[in-house]
């Protein structure tokens, strides 16, 4: 705090202006505070109740315990549902990323007849309500008398994830400077080597982002899965079914764990990319 005498010749703002300036600057911060609180309420709730000593029904707070965290597979079916979700997620991610990346390169790099029609075809699954996607595949299964289950679910997931992969990778391809590939060819790399040593490494972050997106879409999917999974349970389906009688706290544990894991991954990703720029 300065002990200098206030120089009376320096003009000061009137009080009204000072107040409105303070409001203007902080209004947005106040809004952000409320907005983030709103965003995090259910997350905080889920996290808090993962410590509830609830037994089977996690509706009322009974007491604090770490048991759920030390024994996350305690409730029946939780871990098998989780396992299914992860397996389906991985498979759907692999297939949709490969197929989607190929389509992205075709549309993003080449001018060919039917390009706008291809764009439209890719857009359609995103514009179709999930219930229609799920129901239509189910009706196909019924016609061929195939029972819904694990593989139909994987296939259904690949269908709707593919479009998102295409959009993500295409955006990355569009930002690629074509002169880099020309420079590679100028420096004696043929088409295949250019793709392998220049194009692919530079598109890779986009492909990684698309894969992550596909996995999270698949893991969290409920509606399409519900139509095509039959008796097989995924994690979201498990939560839905047990919502009526009370979700076991172990589900909260897993949900919270997924949250922290995803958060950690994103933060690590940010730190790595920042390090790469500075090193």
């Amino acid at each position: 705090m300065s002990t200098k005498q206030k120089d009376a010749s320096i003009p000061t703002l009137p009080v009204g202006a000072l107040i409105s300036r303070w409001i203007g600057r902080n209004l947005i911060r106040i809004y952000m505070f409320f907005a983030f609180t709103y965003l995090f309420i259910p997350v905080a709730y889920t996290f808090a109740f993962s410590f509830n000593d609830s037994g089977k029904s996690n509706l009322v707070w009974k007491g604090f315990t770490f048991d759920n965290w030390t024994n996350p597979c305690g409730a029946p079916q939780v871990c098998s549902a989780l396992g299914n979700s992860i397996k389906i997620g991985l498979l759907a991610t692999i297939f949709s990323t490969i197929l989607g990346t190929m389509i992205a390169f075709a549309i993003g790099r080449h001018a060919f007849k039917g390009r706008s029609a291809s764009n439209l075809l890719i857009f359609l699954p995103m514009a179709t309500p999930e219930i229609v996607l799920g129901a239509s595949l189910l009706s196909l299964l019924l016609v061929f008398q195939i029972s819904p289950g694990f593989w139909p679910t994987v296939i259904a997931h690949v269908v709707f994830c593919m479009s998102f992969v295409v959009v993500t990778v295409k955006a990355r391809i569009a930002s690629l400077d074509p002169r880099l590939e020309q420079a590679a060819m100028d420096l004696y790399a043929n088409e295949f080597e250019t793709f392998r040593r220049v194009t692919l490494p530079l598109v890779a972050p986009g492909i990684a982002a698309a894969a992550l997106l596909a996995f999270s879409l698949s893991f969290d999917d409920f509606i399409i899965t519900n139509f095509n999974s039959g008796t097989m349970t995924t994690f979201p389906k498990f939560v839905y079914v047990s919502a009526a009688r009370g979700i076991p706290a172990q589900a909260n544990v897993i949900g919270s764990a997924m949250f922290f894991l995803a958060l950690a991954l994103v933060i690590i990703g940010q730190v790595v990319s920042r390090k790469r720029k500075v090193s």
Binding site: L39, P42, V60, F112, S136, L140, I223, S256
Partner: protein, 282 residues
């Protein structure tokens, strides 16, 4: 310098997959929608009769749910827009060095399972949560009103769950605005509100369009929020379709309803896009 056949080869596997597991099923669904139940047959047995009246019947019978779905989806989309826009704006312009952290924090809540979040809202808004008792003590709501099993809860759930689909495109679009255009606007005698109306908003339109589409389309077909947070009085068309498949086994009606839903969405979306005037979406 590239072979002419390369793009077609690249497209082939993906498109073959999409054709088999997306186009064909939709065509099959269309085909199912005009069937009728076989007289004296078992449940689930139908014959193709090209009964287009299925559509008419299905729509009339369920027009209440149809209307409700679109109204709920519209309200939820508007609410999401109102909540997200200031958030996206703040992230783009006022976040400074915290931009990336805040962006992560906006997406982070949606790493928890969609169902866990919705069930959490059910319990937060329920009798045992803290919201209802507090509101009752303050006197905003009476002792007899509950928040769960209401359309309020359903719309709230929908708004919350589709928030990132609105926020991210909005943010991407607003972030692209050169802040110097806003300065120029002020330099040319526009006050804050006018600058927003005439510069910021029009420049952010692509994000608004993308966000509203990505929110409205899934919201119209959603049934999970209605199921968990609602009551039989808040049934949406998604619930009807689901029950026609799994409880009341009536595939033609279900198929007809699905197509009607899709058609309605496509019509609304096309009108909307034409009015908003954006070009490529993908």
């Amino acid at each position: 310098m590239k072979k002419i056949s390369t793009p077609y080869l690249l497209l082939l596997p993906g498109f073959a997959f999409l054709f088999t597991f997306f186009i064909l099923p939709i065509m099959n669904l269309a085909q199912t929608s005009t069937q009728t139940r076989i007289e004296n047959g078992d449940t689930g047995q139908y014959e193709q009769t090209l009964r287009f009246a299925n559509y008419f019947d299905a729509f009339i019978e369920n027009r209440e749910q149809f209307t409700r779905s679109f109204v709920y989806a519209l309200i939820a989309t508007l609410l999401a827009l109102l909540i997200s826009y200031p958030l996206a704006y703040a992230l783009a312009f006022k976040a400074g060095k915290f931009k990336n952290i805040l962006l992560v924090l906006v997406i982070a809540p949606f790493f928890t399972s969609f169902l866990l979040r919705t069930v959490a809202w059910k319990q937060i808004l329920g009798e045992e949560g803290f919201v209802v008792p507090s509101l009752r003590t303050i006197g905003i709501i009476s002792e007899s009103t509950t928040l769960t099993s209401t359309s309020f809860a359903v719309i709230m759930g929908m708004t919350y769950n589709f928030l990132p689909f609105m926020t991210l495109p909005l943010y991407a679009s607003i972030d692209r605005i050169d802040p110097r255009t806003l300065e120029a606007s002020g330099d040319l005698y526009a006050n804050g509100f006018t600058t927003f109306r005439r510069v910021t908003l029009p420049l952010s339109m692509p994000g608004v369009v993308a966000g509203t589409l990505l929110t409205f389309i899934p919201a119209a077909g959603d049934y999970v929020n209605a199921q968990i947070l609602g009551s039989p009085n808040t049934k949406m068309i998604g619930n009807v379709i689901e029950s026609r498949y799994f409880r009341v086994v009536d595939y033609p009606t279900a198929a007809a309803l699905s197509f009607t839903l899709m058609a309605a969405i496509l019509i609304l979306v096309t009108l909307y896009i034409r009015k908003a005037g954006t070009e490529e979406l993908v």
